[in-house]
């Protein structure tokens, strides 16, 4: 009979201000009030009332009775609780210091920094999080869990080098092939705990699904499934907000949780902590994950954050913003994965999940994000060494971006930076280039928005795509060499 380890993800982002408009009068120290939505406070209070307080109170009782579970709290949710609901934070402190509970490590900002080419930002955020856990909870996490379980070989190596004993990620079928997630594995010499997707989703998604043939799911049925599972240890990981927020109390989710420990012990299923999984069991095999996996949607890859061109544009803008980030904290708030999740354009049941979690449409989320990151960089310009170069390389708001047209209208390509412009010049149809060149649009844009009258004059002379490409390409490379 396998053991069970169960963990909860607790996270809230700083959602961006939908109605953001640049306001130079707002001082730097108040900038976060301008960038982040007032709705954050209301949502946090609602979630605390519906989920964090009742669920944590119940779990504290269960822990006293011998149940054990792990929690992973992002730095941003802790900041919000400190500010707006300190009593709830007290409950989490009690959990963290309970002998039957374990705190896991993650990135402070629940960020997608692990997807950056350069991993230093990622490791720094992990250290920040560990420091916070130590200061606040006196806990020193030994098991790491990345944002939305994002994982690949490089991340495994990185986490190993930071000294963690193990890492939690998704039991993705295409990685496991015929193997079961109910064992301990290794990747790049670090033990890997794999989430049992089916048993986790039975609670997180199917519990309320009336068309599911196992509806309604009760604690004894689920405990039986765990008991009957093959393997050594079933690892379950859930969004904590499932309890009471995604699934309301009326669905019976709290009754499920209350009765679960009893039903598990009635079937002699031991419940253990993730760190125990790593010390108790011997890895049966090693896995290699060249392509990034995660727990999101059915694709189980990064497509929830970097699946469409909008998301990729925003991601590249964010990565490029590193050199502009004199104010690192704001830059890091912008790295939270949720901002990218809101920009998704998915269909089917995953699309429904996305729209449930999103407080605004994908298009709107993208425009808001670009506006804010553009303003953030604009404000940083004055502190930068080479201001002219930085100005030309900055990310542009949708109002300043270049929209490629043909005589009959917009053709769907937009350049939000000089970098993107260079890329698009080799992609857009030749007749669109000719159209803009005849009207002198490139010259105007480079002069007015990027602020370089000399290049603007030179581009007027170009007749071929190749000439434009070479001109802006060389200019771009030169600018970056000044800024970096």
């Amino acid at each position: 009979m396998p053991a069970l380890s169960i963990g909860f993800e607790v996270h809230q982002p700083y959602r961006l201000n939908r109605n953001f408009t640049p306001d130079p009068k707002v001082k730097k120290r108040h900038i976060q009030n301008l960038y982040f939505d007032e709705v954050n406070r209301d949502l946090l209070l609602r979630i605390a009332e519906k989920c964090y307080i009742p669920a944590t109170t119940m779990i504290l009782d269960l822990l006293d009775d011998g149940f054990s579970c792990a929690f992973s709290l992002s730095g941003t949710v802790i900041e919000q609780l400190e500010k707006w609901s300190p009593n709830t934070l007290c409950l989490f402190e009690q959990v963290a210091q309970h002998r039957n509970a374990e705190i896991l490590a993650q990135t402070y900002y629940h960020s997608i920094a692990s997807c950056f080419h350069d991993k230093t930002e990622f490791t720094e955020q992990v250290r920040m999080h560990s420091a916070l856990m130590h200061d606040l909870f006196h806990a020193d996490p030994t098991v790491f869990e990345n944002t939305e379980f994002t994982f690949n070989n490089d991340i495994a190596g990185c986490v190993r080098d930071m000294g963690f004993c193990g890492v939690f990620t998704e039991g993705v079928e295409r990685v496991l092939d015929w193997r079961s997630p109910n064992y301990l594995y290794t990747c790049r010499d670090i033990p890997v705990i794999l989430r049992n997707t089916r048993l986790s989703d039975d609670i997180a998604f199917r519990f309320t699904n009336r068309s599911w043939d196992m509806y309604p799911l009760t604690a004894d049925t689920w405990a039986r499934w765990v008991a009957e599972s093959p393997g050594e240890v079933v690892n379950v990981f859930l969004d904590y907000e499932s309890f009471g927020e995604h699934m309301w109390p009326e669905t019976g989710i709290f009754d499920f949780l209350r009765h679960l420990p009893g039903e598990l012990s009635a079937r002699d299923v031991p419940v253990i902590l993730p760190s125990k999984v790593i010390t108790e069991y011997v890895p049966v095999d090693s896995i290699t994950v060249p392509d990034t996996i995660s727990w999101a949607d059915i694709e189980k890859d990064t497509s929830a954050w970097m699946g469409n061109d909008r998301q990729l544009t925003a991601f590249h803008a964010l990565e490029a913003a590193r050199v502009f980030a004199k104010d690192k904290q704001t830059w890091r708030y912008l790295q939270t994965s949720d901002h990218f999740y809101y920009m998704a354009s998915k269909y089917g049941s995953c699309g429904e999940v996305h729209s449930y979690f999103c407080y605004l449409s994908g298009e709107e989320a993208f425009r808001t994000y670009m506006r804010i990151i553009a303003d953030f960089e604009e404000r940083s310009l004055r502190y930068m060494k080479n201001r002219r170069a930085a100005r030309a390389l900055r990310t542009l708001s949708p109002e300043n971006a270049f929209y490629f047209h043909s005589p009959s209208g917009f053709i769907g390509y937009t350049a939000y930076s000089l970098d993107q412009f260079c890329e698009l010049v080799s992609i857009v149809p030749a007749d669109s280039l000719r159209y803009h060149q005849d009207r002198g649009d490139f010259a105007c844009w480079i002069n007015d928005i990027l602020g370089d009258p000399l290049i603007a004059e030179s581009i007027r002379e170009c007749t071929e795509r190749q000439d434009i490409k070479n001109l802006v390409g060389e200019w771009r490379d030169e600018l970056w060499s000044h800024v970096k």
Binding site: D309, R310, Y347, G348, S406, S408, G409, F410, I411, G412, Y413, T414, I427, V428, P429, A430, D431, S432, Y435, E464, Q466
Partner: protein, 384 residues
């Protein structure tokens, strides 16, 4: 890696068209993209024709000649001579390792350089271009003669699909061991645009929510536009709001317009690339009703834009589509086409899913990097 060229080599590409000078059709795109991808790790020279001075673009050196001729065959022979002349100018110091010829136009050059490591790629055959029929006029015989001769003397041959490989094996007795299938590649970013579909539809007088079917291609018998027009009669009964846009020119236009008099079909004629991108991204479904299609590049373009596809079960289309996974294959006849179109339009969310999976397939199989890798494997087999 077995069979793959690891060290850098010197490659000559012979093609009668290129992206930056004389450009006729899809061949320019395919050969130029292949050359640019190969140029990332090899020295690549591209011998072609054009009125411009030699130039180097994205690491590929282009060498142009200006051929003359009273007919297409003479013209191509003159071009071949010019190409060989240019070739020898750059064959000094380090000699070329591989010589890659595209289609029949440069077969005369292949003849003169036949002792070297030569590869010939078939993008189509004269028989196929003629609607799967033999011709009895002299150009037909000359061109197919050159196609046969090229296949005979080239050290290796590639075809863009298994269907085309079978075709050249049957027509020109090219032996099976000598011929590899290397499909065309695509740059998907060029075809997906973030565009408001409703706005484009309105520009064509179509309601923003009406389902839009797109046909793009020459209006000739081979491409089967007539089958689609017939099918539309059935489609309109099930989906009275459906609209069809036929983009492209060709000899059948008058005939088709006559047949489509009472159908919601708009013949927009030839469209520039930018307009094609707009239409492709605004439509709900791309139909490819071809009777013969050695490869079917439109399929990759539609997939790149995440569009679902209803296509004839012929040639490269047949090989690349998985029905109900990333598209729908039907028989090239009106009833079957109508069934396919209706099936897609009955379930819009399924249609989106097919398109998304098509895009994934493009990113898995049809990017130029892996295709160029396959091509270098063929190169390696010349010397193996």
């Amino acid at each position: 890696m077995e069979g793959r060229i690891v060290e850098s080599c010197k490659i000559a590409i012979f093609c009668w068209e290129s992206l930056y000078a004389e450009r006729v059709g899809g061949l320019a795109n395919a050969a130029t993209n292949l050359a640019e991808t190969l140029a990332k790790c090899h020295e690549v020279h591209y011998f072609t024709r054009g009125q411009v001075p030699d130039q180097t673009i994205n690491n590929v050196s282009y060498h142009y000649c200006q051929p003359r001729g009273n007919n297409i065959v003479e013209y191509c022979d003159s071009m071949s001579r010019g190409m060989v002349e240019n070739f020898f100018k750059f064959d000094t110091h380090q000699r070329f390792d591989y010589l890659h010829f595209n289609d029949w136009h440069a077969v005369q050059a292949l003849h003169e350089l036949q002792d070297r490591n030569t590869i010939l790629t078939y993008h189509s055959t004269e028989y196929g271009r003629n609607g799967n029929q033999y011709g009895d006029w002299w150009e037909y015989k000359e061109i197919s003669g050159k196609e046969w001769y090229g296949g005979l003397i080239a050290k290796r041959v590639t075809a863009v699909s298994a269907t085309l490989k079978n075709e050249v094996m049957t027509l020109y007795n090219v032996p099976d061991w000598k011929c590899d299938v290397v499909p065309n590649g695509i740059v998907p970013r060029q075809f997906r645009a973030d565009i408001d579909a409703g706005e484009v539809k309105k520009a064509y007088g179509i309601h923003p929510f009406a389902p839009l079917i797109l046909f793009i291609g020459r209006l000739v018998y081979q491409k089967g536009p007539d089958l689609l027009i017939e099918a539309m009669k059935t489609v309109c009964q099930a989906h009275p709001d459906a609209k069809l846009i036929v983009a492209g020119e060709g000899g059948m236009r008058q005939f088709l317009m006559e047949r489509a008099k009472y159908l919601p079909a708009n013949f927009v004629g030839y469209v520039p690339d930018s307009e094609y991108i707009r239409l492709l991204n605004a439509c709900d479904l791309v139909v490819i009703p071809s009777r013969n299609e050695p490869f079917g590049l439109v399929l990759l373009e539609a997939w790149s834009a995440e569009k679902s596809v209803v296509a004839s079960n012929v040639g490269g289309l047949s090989e690349n589509i998985d029905t109900f996974v990333d598209g729908l294959k039907v028989e090239p006849e009106p009833g079957s086409l109508a069934w396919g179109i209706n099936t897609i339009m009955d379930d819009p969310s399924q249609a989106v899913a097919l398109g998304k999976r098509g895009r994934k397939k493009v990113e898995r199989i049809f990017l130029w990097e892996p295709i160029a890798g396959k091509m270098t494997e063929t190169y390696a087999r010349v010397v193996a």
